[in-house]
Amino acid sequence: MTAAQPLLALDSISLSFKGVKAITNISFAVNKGEICALIGPNGAGKSSLLNVINGVYQADEGRITYQGISRTTMHPQWAAKRGVARTFQNIALFKGMSVLDNVLTGTNLKVKSSWLEQVFNLGRAPADALSQRQKAERVIAFLKLQPWRNSIVGGLPYGLQKRVELARALAAEPELLLLDEPMAGMNADEKAEMSRFIVETRREFGTTIVLIEHDIGVVMSLSDHVVVLDYGKKIGDGSPDEVRANPEVIAAYLGTKHGETA
């Protein structure tokens, strides 16, 4: 991948479920170190697109280029190994495990020791365990989760669980982080805190972030690049200011001003 190439490029991606078109011919690119927001009404195809990017869904048509490698289909394992991590719209944590254990699961991909070495704690396993713990602790400190390090995740407030999910994704040391509604169900303070963590993630680790968010205020202040979807089609793509001024976006998603409709 050359410096001029984007980290992620989607070219004419289409996806359908039993004949129902979820995504139609969508193309856009995400540059390295960028925060890119996918916005659109419910059912616009945002989550489906995220699932296509990390290989949970296979696109019917089109190509995905990630780190300069172009593919017609992505596979979750391939994507994860190449540094794609994600969080989910509905929290998908191990509710009966502690915060630390949940975050440690995010470090598993980088483990070098075999399962046999791990069972008997031999060979590379002790060094792996130490390195995993250090990575997990760094992320816990980064997201200020220390007071809840040993708390069981299921008993934590919703906002904190969202933060733990982000921590688990960051523990994988991703190059591309996909966040599916990271602020859904949060109050204003929690949203501000999560926004700060997202900005700091990019700044401290250089992580490229693609996020889905419904709060337009948050999207416009947080993102470098906004892609707008409506009924599975792209209707806007540009900087927050460009998208804000796009008449098609205003009509379809942001709403028209009073007096302009008459």
Binding site: E137, R138, K144, P147, E200, R203
Partner: protein, 385 residues
């Protein structure tokens, strides 16, 4: 080197107990240790650096930090050079803190992290020296006065640096804002601190085996009197929590034998217990109430049962099971809290806060809204610098 100074005692401990643990601090979930020898070396390196930056006898190092070893070691470095350490209480509200900084116009500052660095730059953009501990968010700062503590400590000291501190020199200065927005201060000399510390060491029979917890280190003068100087005199281990939010967990893990707290410290622990009290009317509530009464009776069987069933678990929850010397500095405890701690076998001992607050010549003028705007527009300021 003058004997009645904090640097003298630091050097003495480094000589007598070089390999014993002086400081423990939890970092990334793991306790890190510094021995007396390495603490002494760190102070010398920091002192050398401060000296190179123009810090001289009588100068003040302002501390804007929660309790952490870096703040302690830099304070001692300032003392080494005959200077004063002035910790500002981190509990101050942001506008008041900015007013204080604006009035004090500090020249030498230890700012814990980005938020504190921003506050200092907002109050005095041309500040000559700011040392920070936590580098997060500071990578893009290009201000020439900003230095990382870790880099300062990594430098070696080529030549010996003799402390110029004297017993009557002011070691700590504490500031506060009065209700009338007047700047008030309180000073403690090396000799005063060591006298107070010596009294405590003798009266409580403190040894180098103690484990002390510095949860609100030196923000209040009582902590300097009854934690810092006894630490230097007795040579025990001073433990710092990972951060303020984890102090209760850390206390449970560490099991300190010496706790120097204010009324607020103990009230908070009491409130923590209250919040987890069983519901009135339940058998658990009746059991706890009975046990707290029974633990103080003269009947050994009842007292023992109460001790094992309720008192010990409560001490464990509060992290006070090993606490031999629970000190209360300053304001007295509420009657209920005092009664509770007595019932669980924690005999809180009050130690006086003797020195009076004096009114400063400096008048604090509340900052204008445009100044605060400047604080929030720091990005522009930083790029300009």
């Amino acid at each position: 080197m003058a004997a009645e100074t904090l640097p003298f005692w630091l050097a003495l401990q480094a000589q007598q107990r070089p390999a014993r643990v002086a400081i423990r601090h939890k970092q990334l979930g793991i306790l890190q240790q510094s021995h007396w020898q390495s603490a002494h070396q760190a102070v010398l390196r920091a002192a050398r650096f401060l000296q190179q930056q123009g810090f001289d006898q009588g100068d003040t190092l302002l501390l804007l930090s929660e309790p952490r070893p870096e703040a302690l070691l830099l304070s001692l470095a300032a003392h080494w050079l005959g200077g004063v350490s002035a910790p500002l209480d981190p509990a101050y509200a942001q506008p008041q803190l900015l007013d204080l900084l604006h009035t004090l116009r500090p020249k030498f500052v230890f700012a814990e992290a980005q938020a504190q660095v921003d506050q200092v730059l907002a109050a005095k953009p041309d500040v000559p020296l700011v040392i920070y501990a936590d580098a997060r968010g500071l990578a893009d700062y290009r201000h020439p006065a900003i230095h990382a503590y870790s880099q300062i400590i990594a430098r070696t000291v080529d030549e010996a640096l003799t402390s110029v501190a004297e017993g009557n020199d002011v070691a700590f200065r504490f500031y506060r804002l009065s209700a009338l927005y007047q700047l008030e201060y309180r000073e403690l000399t090396h000799a005063e601190l060591l006298n107070n510390g010596r009294q405590l060491v003798e009266q409580e029979a403190l040894t180098d085996q103690e484990q002390a917890l510095a949860a609100r280190a030196f923000a209040a003068s009582g902590h300097a009197r009854y934690l810092l100087s006894p630490w230097l005199l007795a040579g025990f281990t001073l433990n710092f929590p990972e951060n303020l939010a984890t102090r209760d967990t850390d206390r449970r893990e560490l099991g300190p034998t010496l706790v120097a707290g204010t009324a607020a410290t103990y009230q908070r622990l009491y409130a923590l217990t209250q919040s987890r009290w069983p519901l009135p009317g339940s058998w658990q509530y009746a059991l706890v109430a009975w046990a707290l009464r029974a633990s103080q009776t003269q009947l050994p069987v009842l007292a023992t049962v109460a001790h094992w069933l309720v008192v010990l678990p409560l001490q464990d929850v509060l992290g006070l099971r090993r606490t031999r010397v629970p000190l209360l500095v300053g304001e007295p405890l509420s009657a209920e809290a005092e009664q509770f701690f007595n019932a669980i076998g924690i005999q809180v001992r009050a130690w006086p806060e003797e020195s009076a607050w004096r009114t400063s010549q400096l008048q604090v003028i509340p900052r204008q809204s445009q100044d605060l705007g400047n604080y929030f527009g720091l990005k522009a300021l930083r790029s300009a610098v």
